[in-house]
Symmetry: D2
Subunit: 477 residues, 4 copies
């Protein structure tokens, strides 16, 4: 099902990108294995475009990487250059047309493009294209980026990119494929991560997270600078400053808190260790007497380990998570749910019973799952339940590629911390403050904390699409 209905098809999403240049012919295979390591950044759709020095081929579809690329699908994707994309699940199944990479023929030859981020002036740019007589076949920023590149004069794609990227306001970490090269670039604010490394083959790879580069066996891994353009060709890698870095740097703090896989290195720091430091910091800011520290599996484990280490309260597991509950899961009926059918988590009663419990979570967005989880902990016999959250209250939507929901949907937009504690039934609730979080990050600025503070690094119109999607609080069944 495709459609043209911008209202229904929100461009706000978190994604993963990869780019490969290798002397061999197996760039698509490397892109495929790299996407596996970025799968957590988007499970709705995946795609790989490949070039062999001349033509560009693309295979993409809705589904997980493993579903889109079944046996045989990679076979025709022969060539030494590739870009890939994995995409976050939006509300509907209606977005087939928006699956990336986006590939077009242009006066300069074939062009493929995949990106992670969100432009705040996309509507303005779309209008500009339409006025110039373009036809837009999707609602994605990728097409806008690609068609602007297609219409730009210049001697090379990197040249054209540097000419036009100054017009793009917002978050974009993107990979571009021509018939003969792969180009990576990062917006001047540095919202979203993008790193590169040297492949064992002597070529190079680009990826949203360093974990994907390590999965491919890369060394010499470094982050792209804000505004930097990197051109990959065979074993060669060349760097250009496409535009000046913005005065106010704006890394997304949420990559540190939740998005990135814990093995990522981001801003020269191990995400796993940052999360341990966040756990220690919230332990320092909100100490409590307790018998056990438990994480909400799996993402809060490092933070809970950090809390335990700082506080001296023993770490243990309090929940077993059913790893087979997938995206297409058939939900229990309300009646069964009322009777207590609870599929996603079981408590480990013996680790909880008769104890004062600290439960560590990395974030609360809508606040719909914390309450039921705390109730389960109490039913398993906890004497007290103290919730600690390793980020500040989220009170403002994101316009730079993360789907937080609207103001209306954010619990911290409506309720104070005390009110939230009452709402979710915790004996106490402690959030990490912004200053404490930045201190744990060992940075004074350079991060975008707009979802906590409302202070956006680029002026935005505070109007969200009506269909903003819900991301964080997975359903508790």
């Amino acid at each position: 099902m495709n459609y043209i209905d911008p209202e229904l098809d929100s461009p706000k999403e978190e994604c993963g990108v990869i780019g490969i240049s290798t002397p061999g012919n197996d760039a698509a295979q490397l892109a495929f294995f790299g996407l596996y390591a970025l799968q957590h950044r988007g499970q709705e759709a995946a795609g790989i475009a490949v070039a062999d020095g001349q033509a560009v081929r693309v295979h993409k579809d809705m589904g997980l990487v493993s579903q889109v690329f079944d046996a045989g699908a990679l076979d025709p994707l022969v060539g030494g250059l590739a870009i890939g994309h994995t995409r976050y699940s939006t509300t509907g199944a209606n977005s087939e047309r928006n699956v990336q990479p986006y590939v077009v023929e242009t006066m300069h030859g074939p062009l493929g493009l995949a990106h992670n981020g969100n432009l705040v002036n996309a509507d303005h740019l779309r209008e500009g294209l339409l006025k110039r007589g373009a036809g837009l076949s999707s609602s994605s920023d990728s097409e806008v980026l690609a068609l602007m590149l297609a219409a730009t004069e210049g001697e090379s794609w990197e040249h054209r990119l540097s000419q036009v990227m100054g017009e793009w306001k917002g978050a974009f970490s993107l990979v571009v494929l021509s018939g003969t090269k792969v180009i990576g670039c990062r917006d001047p604010w540095g919202f979203r991560p993008l790193s590169m490394g040297r492949l064992p083959s002597g070529g190079h790879a680009l990826a949203s997270e360093t974990g994907a580069l390590r999965t491919l066996g890369c060394d010499s891994i470094r982050e792209l600078e804000p505004g930097e353009i990197v051109v990959l060709q065979g074993q060669m890698a060349r760097s250009i400053q496409g535009v000046e870095p913005a005065e106010r740097q704006a890394r997304c703090t949420f990559e540190q808190i939740y998005f990135s896989r814990p093995d990522a290195i981001w801003d020269s720091m191990s995400v796993h260790q940052v999360r341990q430091r966040f756990g220690a910091a919230v332990a320092a800011q909100h100490p409590v007497e307790a018998d056990v520290v438990i994480p909400i599996p799996d993402s809060s484990m490092p933070a809970a380990i950090g809390y335990s280490a700082y506080s001296g309260i023993p770490y243990n597991e309090g929940f077993v998570k059913n790893r087979y509950i997938g995206r297409t899961f058939i939900e229990p009926t309300d009646e069964l749910r009322r009777q207590g059918v609870a599929l996603k988590f079981n408590t480990l009663r013996e680790n909880i019973e008769g104890k004062r419990v600290v439960v560590v979570d990395d974030s609360i967005v809508r606040g719909t799952t914390s309450g039921p989880l705390i109730k389960m902990i109490r039913e398993a016999g906890a004497l007290e339940v103290h919730m600690r959250v390793t980020c500040p209250p989220i009170a403002h939507p994101c316009f730079f590629g993360v789907d937080m929901g609207t103001h209306d949907e954010l619990i911290a937009h409506h309720l104070s911390v005390d009110e939230i504690a009452t709402h979710i039934g915790a004996d106490s609730l402690g959030y990490l403050s912004v200053p404490a979080m930045m201190e744990a990050l060992e940075r004074e600025d350079g991060y975008c904390n707009a979802c906590f503070t409302g202070d956006y690094p680029i002026a935005v119109q505070l109007k969200l699409p009506t269909t903003a999607k819900k991301r964080f609080d997975g359903a508790l069944a």
Copy 2:
């Protein structure tokens, strides 16, 4: 699998289009049932785009109409306006990007387009678009047509269409969908059919063949004139002369000979009756003493009936055709084929044995199946086998939407009629001559007979894509 490689993806194809405007909300359903009646015009892919007064939605995919639109696929396609397309099978499975209707957003609002035909100046038009900075995501003429419309100024789609259609050289019967209307138009030469009728609901329908209109219960059926534009909105239908008709009219004679389903009315004539007249005409031109007239099932039945009626030689069936041999059929190995495994046809020996047989076929293209079929007739005990073909020898490729193959592939380009008779093992072979064919058509001119004569109604460059596909002579297994 999508790709950008114009060489591999020939735009030459025979297709079917449909357009619906109805006061109700079930335009997509009507388009769906209409496409069923056009399925013989293309079995590779199908699609329907629908509009509800505002947004345009499209569902399309590779496969038969029944495969693309499984249960539930039609449900979201709500609205009173729809266009649909069914597409001829090309050699590869590589053309997902070219599946129609093509849908884009433009400065004038959403636009959907589906067409039957082929432009001879498509390369020139593509280059023009690219030079203006466009990005082309497919190799189909549809995108070229749509993007040219998108970039044209004018107060309405029909106005823009009339402005730009003069630039399009070649065959095009097309249906256009905006948010609020359906438009049909036919090229000034009149190569491909396109008819309209009034639906029982009071709305109107457009279709490549009148049989599809009758399937939908239409009355007041008439053909669009060359160069005519028809605008459908609710129950209203308005006609505009978009461009002047060409001086030399050029209906495709092959629609009469083979393509159209026998229940079509084309050029005010019943195709079934035209084929009977062709059969009678070849009987008059090439009489023979014989005991039975048999058709090659199914398409030559009307012609064989006509031959029998004119000659007085009894009509009977000589072959049983296996109707379950489909497009994805697993072929017997060469060894099994050598042993005589022959799946598609069995002879009806009792109707053939000891008889002098006239076998009627509607055309010979590459000449690969006639020989084996004649051999089967002989093995069933025929005393003589006389082949009669109800069209002239095909010696030239088509550039207007029919995939005849290249000069090299056409047997009549290389061999004389006598040589062909020897090649296929017939005791005699008679083709209908061009004058006799036109006489049977009761027309003096107005038809394109270029595949017989080489006299093309528009100047063409005699260079075919290297991947020209083979259409007519289905494999004999």
Copy 3:
């Protein structure tokens, strides 16, 4: 979905079987191509079991032969012995467990079995097995036949078969596979056809119809005798009289009238020619002044040719049938149908208008389609419509493998010929009488005409399963 609910899963069905013994390893391939030529005998499910001298392997599933055996499915089926089955569509999709061939391990080694027909004492035999402690995993006769064979002592499968087949009352043409041989056998009444031929490889094949044997390149084709057992091993074929032929032979007349493909030879007669003779006979019995004879496509074509030849009234086509309307077709809504959406047939008005029309059909079962077809002929401008049916009125259900429906469902059980004529709106209606039909068959007896006469060759309890399925009168859309 499997289930144990004999009421829902009627064992009454028409099917096709095949058996192969070849010196090579490609028996499964030959069975596959043979099943293609038997596909018209059953489109619900298909299966092939193969033996390589030791183990027996089977692949079977719901669907057409081409769907069940997609690329690769045949690859593991290596061996020189094979049996195959294709099965008629029942009402529900609930019969996965009943898909044939049925394969079991027994004390005598592996055993595969597939059959065409229906036992009238199946319930009695099932009870016998259950009382002996068996567990039955399906509701099919095949399992009963196989488990009775499994429990029988004897030196060889053919020996065991001859011991037990006398207990089986009803119609059964069956093929049996052990690790080392293929066995065919036919019930002593000879209800259902089964023929054998010599393969080009020197081996032998068994098939429900001779057309399938000819498709495989067989010669020396002959029918199995009633009660005969044939044992195939490598290139060897051995015949045994399993049981004495019944005194009253009972070939199914409906194989001649409708079931068999017209290229079948059955009772030493060409089915196509028998149908021409039926057409001539009904012309002799029910002459009428008319201008054109048209068939209901496709099955009535030979009969209409025969009617035309005898009467001198010209034959022509009156309907175009849409060949793409398949089993999983989405039906038009009642509203669309009311408006005239009619997918399956269009009339060829020019062949009908202003004419007195004789329309030939091979049978009327429930009488639901004749009326709408006659209405279409009148709407196409026919002056008169005379219906001729090339079999007698069907007034009684079949218990021997053909699903005619119950007494209640048979129109000729309720109405006289005149009443039927009025009901379907024909100007006149003529059925072939039983004596005229037998005369056209050139036989005095040896056929089962119970569906016409109620005179069953084996005593049956006149109680049909409540869910008897409807076969003949395909829906007219």
Copy 4:
């Protein structure tokens, strides 16, 4: 693909079973959600059979629970009684016939059966059935169990069960479904777990693990006794001692070590806590000076927590596991693997670098993954790597339902502990001894430790099927 080839289709497998009796009609839904919580016990196939007081229906297929039961598949499974099964992945895809529950009609009415375990006298029992004339359509023990029950006289299924279960030697925890009741029973040795609980609806549920019962909201959970039969009907539950418990009880220690989900209660103990105790015990038995304790995720986490708590060495994560690597994963080519493409695990270098590392694993079977994992830890900068295994060396195959592989495949059958340490590249390697393990279990006997000791609780023939499958050491990519 089905086949009869016992050699290829090993019956040795670990599985999960569930049984439901509820006053409502949603037993199948409860069984479905229960199977989700047992999915880790088998991912090859799943099935549910349901009874509504009369008929028994079953739906089963290859695949995960979520794949077998897609939307709509549960709808027809209406009734208050259900059994379900989830099955361990065998090497081939060849076992469709063996998917459970097995359902047959018998002289006593319909019978469904699903089981977990393995009989050591299955071949003997099969032969007995065949000699009595049975036909066996699968190679599974389930069919043997069901057909023996079908052939047994007795007033009720529980009566028949108690009569026949004494003949079954080996491990069997089974659930039986008739038209009117659900029966659970456990072998007299108590090899495999089976528990029951009271549903919120007032009915009862049986499940291999208590976690599944808690998922359904059950209370009053208890284990079935060895030899016990439990009969469930509506809200009623009745217990019978089917056979006397064996003198030598033989719970599978591996359920405690690895199989069961950590939230299971087994032998009145929390599996999570038992694993913590195993971790502490191996810390006591094999102390080492180190800086960090890391688990092999996910199964060794509780053991590593226990090791850390006992030793005082801090617990941390050392690996990130890619949760998207599924069963149908496309493996990297050898060349890519050689270059370092490693998909399943990345190390968390910052938690390892410069440290002496204790890595805790729950078992070593073939020893193929330990080496590569230790190499990764070293490459991440560990100063020392000490491996601790929370079970004794596995030197003997299992004949009671766990696929350990053959003697040949077990590394501890060939190598001493020191040799294994060298082989896998560990600085030290410590296994838990059998006595220390039993002490940690707080039991003196009652467990089967045959895979460690070779002392089988039932005499077995030390000959494994040649196709014994590999279970434990998942591939490291």
